[in-house]
Point group: C2
Chain length 195, copies 2
Amino acid sequence: MARTAGSHSDITGPRVAQAALRLFARHGYAAVSMRQIAAEVGVQAGALYNYTPDKQSLLFDLMRGHMDELLAARATAPAPGDPVASLEGFTRFHIRFHLERPDAVFVSYMELRNLTPDNFATIEGLRRAYEDELEGILRAGVAAGVFAVADTKITTLAVIAMLTGVTTWYRTGGRLNVAQVETIYWDMVRKAVAG
Amino acid sequence: MARTAGSHSDITGPRVAQAALRLFARHGYAAVSMRQIAAEVGVQAGALYNYTPDKQSLLFDLMRGHMDELLAARATAPAPGDPVASLEGFTRFHIRFHLERPDAVFVSYMELRNLTPDNFATIEGLRRAYEDELEGILRAGVAAGVFAVADTKITTLAVIAMLTGVTTWYRTGGRLNVAQVETIYWDMVRKAVAG
DNA sequence: GTCTATAAGTAGATAGAC
DNA sequence: GTCTATCTACTTATAGAC
């Protein structure tokens, strides 16, 4: 069947999400208008509402998609029995995953306060599930006597903050490639929790 | 001299800045209207323009004030000759200073992209000056053979990201006081850069 | 599925009375 | 110094033609 002239549902949908992600990352959710998103896609503002019920859903779907992807990718990563190997795996995974999608990371971190309470609770739950992965590794290492940390929860948050910070300065094509960055950060993490 | 009825320049000015800081921290610069700020102060929107030429200046003055305070406080801190003692001093200073003013920290970190290019360059310069303090300590420690880090610049950014992250979870009146938090983070920093 | 037109409301900023 | 009123522009979202 021939489509109606000007009908592009299957390609416009992803383009709306991409444009929203890009613009939210650059200027912030509240500072971006539906008209700007539409202009980036190349349609009029009204057409966006074929793809999202409202602006809030656009933000929430981006953030939930990012967190789902994060947890799914983590679930398929190898899980060594050794706590040190597990921690190295987590560190390298976290850096690589986050450097591969800087816009989604930025939006997911900066726009939490622009989510409705229900949507915030959902994203927050996914974030905690991810943190719990790391805390489990630290607990296992402490139990095994290979890690010495004062407080596993605080160490978890400190390590994640340090690792995620890489997205604020890393630029593709710069002095270091991702593998080198991973190694530098792993060196710091390894020593910071060492017994 | 008696003041004109309803004239409160000396107290309204600081109240405008306080209200703007509080609201920008909670909801974000772009999401806060001048009318909301005025309502928080208890005046009408037009009256705000006696204290700021525009909304952008309100943001910039808050951020510049925060950075000036940070650098001034740091300048009066003791500067031990020993790199390890210097690093401990920096770590404890950073955590204490940031935990004492969570709203200003949050705004200064999250609203960088809402500054005009000129204003951004100014704030960025102050931020780099602060980072250079830490990098100098790390360089001195590496030169003295007491620190072993792969890259002083990256380590600087990693340490600051880790330390600033404390503001995302610390709440006054919680399980730990500031001194205990300082000690936990100092333990991680000390080990992470150890030779 | 996309368009134009529009509703209903809010934005930053200013003018002039008091 | 603060108020009310207002200007101009822009906001999200919807209705209906094509």
